[in-house]
Symmetry: C2
Subunit: 199 residues, 2 copies
Amino acid sequence: MAGKVAERRAALRENLVLIAERTISKKGLSALRARDLAAEAGCAVGAIYNVFGDLTDLVLTVNARTFHRLGADVAEALADAPQDPVEQLVVMAQAYHRFAAENHLAWRALFDVERAPDEAAPDWYLKEMGRLFTYISDPLAVIFPGRAADEHALLTRALFSSVHGIVLLGLDQASSGVPTEDIDRMIALVLRQFVGAVK
Amino acid sequence: MAGKVAERRAALRENLVLIAERTISKKGLSALRARDLAAEAGCAVGAIYNVFGDLTDLVLTVNARTFHRLGADVAEALADAPQDPVEQLVVMAQAYHRFAAENHLAWRALFDVERAPDEAAPDWYLKEMGRLFTYISDPLAVIFPGRAADEHALLTRALFSSVHGIVLLGLDQASSGVPTEDIDRMIALVLRQFVGAVK
DNA sequence: ACCCTCAATTGAACGTAGTTCAGTGATAGG
DNA sequence: CCTATCACTGAACTACGTTCAATTGAGGGT
């Protein structure tokens, strides 16, 4: 029976990730507790630290999955979008909004993890980010042909950041009155106005 | 000697706020500790709770001051700005960026405080936010006259959120390569492009 | 000047986190 | 079947925010 240990470890790891994912999605990052986690997984608290270095490692694993789902949602929206590059941008941004709204706490956890100040961003983060940037970059190249590469990169980043800001502040004060439709309207307003300026 | 107690309380309060402000500015919100605070202020830990309900109350007081300084900086930039409404928007947004960069940890603390889920945003927050929105709203009314009031409000909020997003993501990864000049360029790019002044 | 009352102040103690590690028990190879 | 090894256990440790019984000292009455 070779690898019975590794098997159990892998199973525990998967289990912990699923439980953490559910806890974060339902009750938020701050509700994640080592003891609760162990109790739900039916293991000792110490076992968690055999699989993950610390709870932040576990959260980062959950975040990687969340980020991947986010990327897939945006990609799906893009696949179903019309050919018009402006509409593609709008559709993707609204897909981003929809994902953030429907997975609010998990989405928040993406940014609420505190990284060590000098620690580099994880690999998967940069990779998924690059993926999202490509989705934006391509339609932009159609809309604004002949821009310098560096300006094009800045434009891409700027648009992503703008949409992110609109969603972030819109959902933050969801209780104090920014309806979902208004967030979508703001996104469309900024994107259409942005590209319409040169049309 | 009437009010000697109240006097000491007020002095302690001021002292605690100043110490907390310095700690947050230098080491970040997460470095704020009740025991360190008491040691620095030369009082018992319990004394903090005679003046503030809890540490979050203290942080909110610091945040109110930070937000006020931010509003003043933006107002000053607006006062020195040219008449052109587009340039006014750019100048204000870059002032927002400069404040965030120069007071990074204090600025982050504005958003990193976790509020109770159902608790309303504090009064001073809404007031300062309204102040910032007015600064943006006025030039926008000149640039886009004759828009419906609700669309105008959405536009204002959308532009603020966009600039906030650009600054937030730009400063977050400052280590992994978004120079200050690029953030300013993105701000100018979005705002100028938005209002149709193609350069 | 003295004491007495009561509220402000103290800091040890409490509850709850994340994390560790010596003891225990199961595993895989001989 | 035995045993060296290593993963697992959970009590213990540290570090928080917060509380509260005990203490102190201020302000008024005599």
